[in-house]
């Protein structure tokens, strides 16, 4: 009998609390944070999977799962509603004797070994839910198979002066990895790990079980699993990815990544390698005569009567008359009322900026130490005529 099996399935680590994203993640898991007008962060790794021919994805999550669950649903928006495969949300298991949270990234996969085994995969790709990038994993998988690697780690080359902030892979000329250094003081190379790994499943399975048995372990891929493989002389290869990639784990990087969409640094306009998202049946946008829109994205379901420059306006927003928005990200269903001014800010989902309020300001008027992106949290109200200062978080 032929075994029913998958070449490669994906396990997406979406468990982070996202505390550095502050109020944006109070009620939302980090992967469900809106991005780029109509997307959520998780749409990028999910769309990458679909566009790379991976049709089985386990999403490992433990904080604020309701919204993420709701968003993913049966996976239909990504074409991940499959009979054998598809997308599955995997919360920590409540077992008969014990209920435990995911102790670390490796433990999260360990707890879901039975899920992986259902698909009997040859390889497993481990992904992270807080990176914005478009990557064809099938090319990385081919590289992994061609090298007969037991583990392949995606890396990108960072400026050597920045290398000490990353996990660095030191490689031989053939791409094989001989050493891994976490945030080295004197980096030997500039290949920074992207947190994207492909393992032969039988190998990963063994190391997960060994790691779980070690009570001193942090149960973490970077700290424990990869070093253990290297120690045992397993074959590890680095796969270089040169296109756009951004960790949007901080307010500033989330804002910056949105701005990079406008500058074309990150191009999401692609007819073949599309980015998919759940759609909310909003009508096309209404753009009034009083509007002025320059170098900006406006998603559907918006009504725009004010001035917008170099900003991303998400689905279902209302921008009233005499509003000015510069260099900002307005998340879905936010309302910016008459006369309000929003500069260098992120306005959360469903937030309301009332008449003549002022959110954020231009960095030129401030010392570097006191300036930062202003943030208005999800569903917050900013009173009329009030001021939200740079760097302030409401």
């Amino acid at each position: 009998m032929l075994d029913r099996r998958k070449e490669c399935i994906a396990m997406l680590l979406a468990g982070g609390q996202g505390s550095r994203l502050l109020v944006l993640t109070h009620k939302t898991a980090k992967p469900a944070v809106p991005f780029g007008g109509k997307y959520r962060i998780i749409d990028f790794p999910l769309s990458n999977c679909v566009n790379s021919g991976i049709d089985t994805v386990g999403i490992l999550t433990q904080y604020q799962p309701l919204e993420l669950n709701n968003y993913i649903g049966n996976g239909q928006p990504w074409g991940l509603n499959r009979n054998f495969g598809g997308v599955h949300i995997l919360p920590p298991y409540a077992q008969s004797e014990k209920m435990e949270w995911y102790k670390g990234t490796a433990n999260a996969i360990y707890q879901n070994i039975p899920f992986v085994e259902r698909y009997n995969p040859k390889n497993v790709i481990i992904l992270s839910g807080d990176h914005i990038y478009k990557m064809d994993y099938s090319k990385m998988l081919k590289y992994h198979i061609d090298n007969d690697a037991e583990c392949t780690i995606a890396v990108r080359d960072v400026p050597i002066e920045d290398a000490s902030r990353f996990g660095i892979m030191n490689t031989n000329p053939d791409g094989s990895i001989y050493e891994f250094e976490e945030k080295p003081a004197n980096p030997k190379s500039n290949h920074a790990s992207m947190g994207v790994y492909i393992f032969k499943w039988e190998v990963l399975r063994k190391y997960l079980i060994d790691d779980e048995a070690d009570e001193t372990s942090d149960n973490d891929f970077g700290k424990n699993i990869i070093p253990a493989l290297l120690r045992d002389g397993r074959s590890l290869y680095a796969y270089t990815f040169a296109d756009y990639w951004k960790d949007v784990g901080t307010i500033h990087s989330l804002w910056e990544s949105n701005m990079e969409l406008l500058d074309g640094t990150f191009n999401i306009r692609d007819k073949v390698f599309k980015t998919y998202a759940r759609n909310y049946a909003k009508p096309s946008s209404y753009i009034a005569g009083s509007s002025e829109i320059k170098n900006s994205f406006v998603a559907e379901g918006c009504s725009v009567k004010g001035k917008i420059e170099h900003s991303v306006i998400s689905t279902g927003c209302t921008i009233e008359e005499d509003v000015q928005i510069y260099n900002s990200v307005i998340m879905p269903d936010a309302v910016i009322k008459k006369g309000a001014i929003v500069k260098y800010a992120i306005v959360g989902e469903g937030a309301v900026i009332n008449e003549n309020a002022k959110v954020g300001d231009d960095p030129v008027y401030y010392d570097e130490s006191e300036w930062g992106i202003s943030v208005v949290g999800k569903d917050e109200q900013i009173a009329r005529n009030s001021v939200v200062k740079p760097n302030e978080v409401i």
């Binding site: 780029g36 007008g37 109509k38 239909q76 928006p77 999401i268 306009r269 599309k274 980015t275 998919y276 998202a277 759609n279 909310y280 049946a281 909003k282 009508p283 096309s284 946008s285 209404y286 753009i287 009034a288 005569g289 509007s291 002025e292 829109i293 320059k294 170098n295 900006s296 994205f297 406006v298 998603a299 559907e300 917008i308 991303v312 306006i313 998400s314």
Partner: protein
């Protein structure tokens, strides 16, 4: 128990829209930026808890099939009920039909298989967001055989498919077909509610006698002969009738009117359509947009005035578009000038081209052409 099933006629009035329906049904004619005409009636049915809908087709229905797909966007991918596409010749060896009665004859199997008491029948040229549950309770309370959905006419000069004079109880006193409407009369939407069993009987009776026109051969004739009583349901919400090319253009542009827009698009009763996963629309430094409806995936660097842009339209620098409808995938080159035009899908308007039509007789550029 489920009370209502729906029937949608996808080809009726194909002829009135000329080149726009040369290669598609009236039902799949794009409207309002991201929609097809059928989306409004189909979404209204879904929002009224109708979970079983038959769409009767005749020809040119490839674009309609592509649009509806598995119907998951409307939540009609169901185990019980869902959406049925009823092609011609679906029932016996009948000829391609000529009118709604014959069309219904091809749908007899669908009608007989339903376990609902009532059927709502609808064309797709009348654009509105309507709650059929309210129509049904009005129908039941009236005690009449048929309820025709209608509204007061905007202007008396045009010919309407069905015009009703009514008494104080909105009971029809007279029914006229293809004629202008008086000030106190009601103009039909081409939407009717009646009992399912009664409809089946009428269809079998009329078709065997060689009759095919629903309004003329059934509604008017049976009413005049005293065989049926007719109730008129007055719909007071926003309604747009795309009866011909001029009204189609005018009604698209009316969506920039906030009252019309909020009358059609209600948060509690969304209009669903096929998802295409376009990115948000990009407005460049040279863009100027004045009273427009813009769908996603567009790139706008030129000037737009009182127009409707569908998905994935590109308007280059110094191009100007006034009072026009630009359908999906069309590219408008630098310096082009377009006024009072309907540009179909995937058209290329080259640099500097000029297309100027009149409001009542817009220029039409057919799908895929290069100007």
């Amino acid at each position: 128990m489920k009370k209502l099933s729906g029937i949608i006629f996808s080809n009726i009035y194909d002829g009135a829209l000329g080149d726009l329906t040369a290669k598609r049904t009236v039902a799949s004619l794009p409207f309002g930026g991201r929609y097809r005409q059928i989306d409004f009636v189909l979404s209204s049915m879904v929002n009224s808890n109708i979970t079983s809908v038959g769409v009767i087709t005749k020809y040119n229905y490839e674009s309609l099939m592509d649009h509806l797909g598995s119907c998951e966007e409307w939540d009609l991918n169901r185990k019980n009920g869902g959406l049925y596409i009823i092609p011609p010749f679906a029932f016996g060896r009948s000829d391609v039909y000529h009118g709604k009665l014959e069309a219904l004859h091809t749908a007899l199997n669908f009608l007989k298989s339903q376990n609902t008491e009532y059927i709502v029948l609808s064309d797709t040229i009348t654009i509105c967001n309507i709650d059929y549950r309210d129509v049904l309770s009005n129908h039941i309370a009236s005690g009449k055989d048929v309820t025709a959905i209608a509204s007061k006419p905007r202007s008396g000069a045009d010919n309407y498919p069905a015009v009703f004079e009514v008494d104080r109880n909105k009971s029809a006193k007279s029914i006229t077909v293809n004629c202008p409407a008086g000030k106190n009369s009601y103009v039909g939407f081409g939407m009717f509610v009646m009992e399912r069993e009664a409809l089946i009987k009428v269809v079998e009776e009329c078709v065997s006698a060689g009759f095919y026109h629903f309004e003329k051969d059934f509604l008017q004739k049976y009413f005049n002969e005293g065989k049926i009583t007719v109730n008129v349901y007055n719909f007071e919400g926003t309604v747009l009738r795309n009866r011909d090319i001029a009204t189609y253009l005018k009604n698209n542009l009316k969506l920039t009117d906030e009252k019309v827009h909020s009358g059609l698009f209600k948060p509690a009763a969304p209009i669903y359509t096929k998802v295409r996963d376009e990115i948000p629309t990009y407005y460049g430094d040279t863009s100027s947009v004045n009273e427009c409806i813009v769908a996603d995936g567009c790139v706008i660097r030129g000037e737009l005035e009182n127009s409707v842009l569908f998905r994935d339209v590109k308007v280059e620098e110094s191009a100007k578009v006034i009072g026009s409808v630009i359908m999906q995938g069309t590219k408008i080159g630098k310096g082009a000038y377009i006024e009072n035009a309907i540009i179909d899908k995937n058209v290329t308007i080259t640099e500097g081209a000029r297309l100027i039509g009149a409001k009542h007789s817009p220029v039409i550029v057919k799908k895929g052409e290069t100007i």
